[in-house]
């Protein structure tokens, strides 16, 4: 036991391990909070969809000959996120379908561009980047940590300040609107915040992990808890704990970090499902 602790201590003496730890914990916390309402709004795959959009945007910027693609990628992704998230209950095309539509079109556009202008750049590396994080999680710089910290503070304060409104709008948007709550404004705020965290996190840890972090904690919490508040709190706790254990396990057994976090979320989900089946009998 002591050996394990000392080897953990040893790893954490490296700044890049500490950076990765902080960034992953913060991202897990934020995405699990937003995840509850995203899952309930049937937008679980928003992270996945947006990474494809980012790919399409990257192809465009490569064709345009830009060296720093972020100038195009970031705004395009944020705008698509806002468009996707603003499609409320009343639209003809439901959330899951519109995500699928946008992501497939973006993929196709990117692929066509890559074929027309084959020499444009090393796009396949960028594709992998948007799926698994363009910077490897263990090469984060101090500036990345600050960026992530600021984003998380924004997300957390928006979430806490608008918690009651988020509940009401997610539960019954028409009622909120009918009784004079400015639901469009709140929807836009939530959409922008979600877009920002997803886009930031996508760059740092990759969209696969983001999707998992959005979906799993909320689903696990919903297996057992029955009120919005308890589900929210529980999914935040689950997400942080799973991220923490995931990182430590990956350090000790040198498994890939992202995949280990996803696996620990999956195990938690299975445990919670088991508990819920046992208690409902």
């Amino acid at each position: 036991m002591n050996e394990i602790f000392s080897s953990i201590q040893y790893y954490f003496s490296y700044p890049f391990v500490r950076y990765a730890f902080i960034v992953l914990i913060l991202i897990s916390l934020c995405s699990s909070l937003l995840g509850v309402s995203l899952v309930l709004k049937r937008l679980s795959f928003i992270g996945d969809g947006l990474s494809h959009v980012a790919f399409g945007a990257m192809a465009i910027s490569a064709v345009a000959g830009l060296t720093n693609g972020t100038v195009i990628t970031l705004p395009v992704t944020v705008i698509s996120a806002v468009l996707l998230l603003r499609t409320g209950r009343n639209t003809k095309i439901k959330g899951d379908a519109s995500i699928a539509m946008i992501s497939v079109s973006a993929l196709a556009t990117g692929y066509i561009l890559m074929n027309i202008f084959p020499s444009s750049s090393n796009i396949s590396a960028d594709v992998c980047g948007s799926l698994f994080g363009s910077t490897s999680i263990l090469t984060l710089k101090e500036s990345d940590v600050w960026l992530c910290l600021i984003m998380s503070l924004i997300v957390l304060s928006v979430f806490i300040l608008f918690y009651n409104k988020i509940f009401s709008i997610t539960f019954d948007e028409n009622f909120s609107k009918a009784t004079g709550v400015n639901s469009d404004a709140y929807n836009l705020i939530i959409a922008v915040v979600t877009a920002i965290i997803i886009v930031t996190a996508m760059k740092l840890v990759g969209s696969l992990l983001i999707s998992a972090l959005i979906i799993f904690p909320a689903l696990s919490a919903m297996r057992i808890f029955r009120s919005f508040k308890s589900v929210t709190i529980c999914s935040a706790v689950i997400s942080v704990v799973c991220a923490g254990t995931g990182i430590i396990i990956s350090l000790l057994f040198s498994t890939p970090v992202g995949a280990t976090i996803v696996a620990s979320n999956f195990v938690t989900f299975m445990i919670f499902s088991g508990i819920s089946t046992l208690t409902s009998k």
């Binding site: 209950r89 009784t179 919903m222 508040k229």
Partner: protein, 238 residues
């Protein structure tokens, strides 16, 4: 008597056409307006237009003076709540208070008290910590009514509120609404229950492809529309 809502020559509809037109009526404070009409005649559409959820195609729907959508409580005909939505009864009832909070992020104790008083009034205080999706249809209806009551300061819009309630609960609900009305809250209720409409309402609005009647209850009973409708109702009851 103060005018709250004036509807002038309004036409309502969706992309694929007009549902109902020539709507002309006024709601004064303290009124109890009952909206009658057969299935698909546009009653729910009218309610949505009054709430600003579905703007009118033409004509005018005006809120008078300081009356605004923040003063309205609303009970929808159907709430498309997802089957797996985790929400306790208390959370839902409290969310009715949101409209009066403006930008303030958290509930005050006055609002929590209002919510628990309203739950007591509707006899659902023992359900407060239950999950909404585990309740029976009638219980859910009461929870949503409690939420509407928390939102209403001047007016309640109810779209077929008694659907799914047992006869006893139906009567209780009518009495409750009528008590609220006597305390000064205006009521607009969509109903298929003509006898209780005539018992409780002060005004009747009967719509179809266009407005068939608007006026007081007594005038309605004497009008040709009213007599025809009442006859057919009596005939179908026997």
């Amino acid at each position: 008597m103060k005018e709250q809502i004036i509807c002038r020559n309004a036409a309502l509809g969706y992309e694929d056409g007009i549902v109902t037109e020539n709507l002309n009526f006024t709601v004064n404070s303290g009124d109890y307006l009952c909206i009658l009409g057969e299935n698909g005649s546009g009653k729910s559409t009218l309610i949505k237009a009054l709430l600003g959820l579905k703007p009118q195609v033409s004509g005018e729907i005006k809120f008078c003076g300081d009356f605004s959508s923040k003063d309205i409580g609303y009970l929808p005909q159907q709430t498309p709540v997802q089957r797996d939505f985790p929400a306790s009864v208390r959370e839902i009832v409290l969310s009715g208070c949101l409209s009066r909070m403006g930008l303030r992020p958290f509930y005050k104790s006055a609002e929590k008290k209002l919510a628990s008083d309203t739950m007591k009034q509707l006899g659902i205080e023992n359900l407060a910590d239950r999950c909404y999706r585990d309740l029976s249809g009638g219980q859910q209806q009461r929870v949503l009514l409690a939420r509407a009551l928390c939102a209403a300061e001047k007016m309640l819009l109810l779209d077929e509120p008694v659907t799914g309630l047992d006869p006893h609960a139906q009567n209780e609900l009518y009495e409750l609404v009528s008590k609220l009305n006597r305390n000064g809250i205006s009521i607009i209720m969509v109903s298929h229950d003509i006898s209780s409409a005539l018992k409780y309402a002060s005004h009747i609005l009967h719509i179809s492809k266009k407005q068939l009647f608007f006026g007081t209850k007594l005038d309605y009973i004497k009008s040709s529309t009213g007599m025809k409708f009442l006859e057919s109702e009596v005939a179908s009851d026997e």
